[in-house]
Amino acid sequence: MDNYLTWTKGVASWVFTLDHKRIGVMYLLGVLVSFLVGGIFALIIRTELIAPGQTIIEPETYNIMFTLHGAVMVFLVIIPSIPGSLGNFVLPIMLGAKDVAFPRLNLFSFHLWIIGAVFTVLALLFGGFDTGWTFYTPYSTKTELGGVVPVIFGVFILGFSSIFTGLNFIVTVHKMRPKGMTWFRMPLFLWALYATALIQILATPVLAITLMLVGLERVFQIGIFDPAMGGDPVLFQHFFWFYSHPAVYIMILPAMGIISELISVHSHRHIFGYTFIAYSSVAIAVFSFLVWGHHMFTSGQSALMNTIFSAITFSVAVPSAIKVFNWLATLYKGSIALNTAMLYALGFIFLFTIGGLTGIYLGTLNVDVHLHDTYFVVAHFHYVMMGSALIAFIGGLHHWWPKMFGRMFDETLGRIAFVLVFVGFNVTFFTQFMLGSHGMPRRYYDYQPEFASYHLISTIGSYVMAAGFFLTAAYLLHSLFFGRKAPANPWGGRSLEWQCTSPPPHDNFKVTPSVGDCYDFRAVHWSEEEQGYVVIRDEESANLPPAH
């Protein structure tokens, strides 16, 4: 049967496609390649740190490595990962639309992503950059490495790619919903993508202009951020974090959306507190703009603003906790299927709770003075950005993999790989909480002997995690060619994407699908014949009272 993968052939039919599904797959490829590259940088860093003193690379190379690891992982992997790949693929289908509102803009933003990635690579050819992914002034206006301007330009372009994706999603959600798809019938993943898109549109332009000013400062010495010319470096931090704190939510909100889907589908249980989860996404999006100063407690920010930012930071815990409690309540009395995707979702809840709670520590003024710029911070944001955002991305990838490519992967290998990743992750980064609270500063090439055993354990953990990811790559690639054909609905989902074939046809739906409660699983039954789930609308289930 004809599907979007076989609809047309040739490289050009992919590179210039207007099909949101193909664009999503291309994003997926780009993100995974970047993830491999960023991961290799991470392994080099961890290997260097396996013992005190020089192990494999020079100190200067080390600085470039951790900078590249951060920049690649943030700008090329985590930010575009869920919205760009899974979001692009799933959003219109979940909505019941033929495509996003602006297919050509969608393609354009993918092309921008490629150009931005190319500039990031060019930065390496120009001598690399060692500013850290945060580009703090005045160092970034002074460092002699020539890669700063290219990478700034690259990130500027990536920013616009992100903006256009967000813009497209907002318009799609507003204007492309078919009859019957009301706001409160939308799957929670769409609410999350919508809230994310709001942040992308409101925050990213500020980053773009800030980086532009850093570039101008570097080339022309205009005296905005560089104190030697009368500029104010703390101002840079204000502007940078006005984007980059909300950017944390660009990473985590879609992840939370995925978890809402995964938890509900794989435990065959109606999501608990739908409206609370939906509104908490939007609340997080708005709150995220009010807390940026918690990155600047020790930067000379005024005491008044420190207090205000610290207080508001605590309040972000409320909508986040609402989500966690609702997920847990959803699991209660559910028939939980420990599929690989579900394992990642459960892992997310565990890791996100640790990541979120340590965020509260760091948002506390006096604690932060001790912990600032230590491995505690490194561990905290890896628990949030990797342990939560990326783990959810991998979980979502497993959830929608049969839908995207029409093939089932090996569940046993999937579960083994999850255990490797989960254990490896915790060994790597929980150790770093201890390192940090004992005073090991981040971004250091060398360290005191008393930190040696922690660093050794952390490095071993990273190898275990890497093994898990390589195993994942292996069985996913294997499934593409040798996997069992996927049924339309392998997990028993109710949202619209499970109503079309796997992989979906070019136009998504031959007939406009009927929209119901996408979390009501009572009519979903396993069918031996299909080797998947089917929706049976018999008299009995039609007369059931509403689920919640």
Partner: protein, 328 residues
Amino acid sequence: MTAIDSKPEETPGLDESHGSDTPFQAHHFDTPIQQYESVKLGMWLFLGTEILFFGALFALYTILRANDPELFSYASQYLNTILGGINTAVLILSSLSMAAAVHFAQRGRKTLMLISLWLTLFGAAGFLGIKYFEYEHKIHVNLNWGPSFYYPVDAAEAAAVGEDGQVSTVQDENARAAADESALLSAERSTSLPDVPEPRLAPMPPTDAVSMAQSAIGPGGLSAVKPEEKIKAERAAAGEVTYSDKPHLEDQDLPVNTHRFFAIYYAMTGLHGIHVVVGMVMIGWLILRGTKGHFDNRYYAPVDLGGLYWHVVDLVWIFLFPLFYLIH
């Protein structure tokens, strides 16, 4: 930049017409109204990002000014209120013609719409022309951003830039020749020059446009060689009468950090200028399509969206004008 800014206007899929109501309806929209409302919402969201884009610079401006109000009231005297005012009027009138173009497009009056678009394009060109005069004069007298703000406007100094090994162009050689002449006139300064330790200008990049422009100007600036009358005449010709005549470096009252005023001035008006250029490209594209007869009262969304973009360019200038030119 061009492609980025003008993209949302083009979003209705041109190549996917399926014989619907209008020839420009994309297949994934059910009705022209749905398509129109979608592109309009998309444009508003894009304008929202533009507002935040400029908003960051407005925030920067507010911080600089709140912390150093005297600096701003001092430096503002170097901006030409009359030229700024004329430019404001030009932009308002071009906004009117743009709104009129939308009006006529909605009524399907092709000729009137095209005339309005041409008028808008002329307005934009006029704005940029005036802006060019303003910039050109400032660069002439070293009212620059960056360190060159503190270079005396003097041929000898222009040559000194070359001696530091920063600029080595044909213009630089000319400037050096001119410098030899003026060195005779200001012997004192020229003897003091070689004492300068050489890393002074090392961080300046070799392709520094400002110093190149400056050396290209050679002795034409406010150098000691030039008669005062000639300068005055030149300034009067440019219509610059409202502000200080004195080279800023000779001013006893020049506050420290004045170069920062010009940094934010060039950053904001420059970014605005880039948007005007993008707007001109966009209006040109609208004229092209309008001439081909693509627009009528059923399909005019590109004109409408182009209009919105152009009005935002106007909006930004409405704030820039009092914030820079009208500081008491």
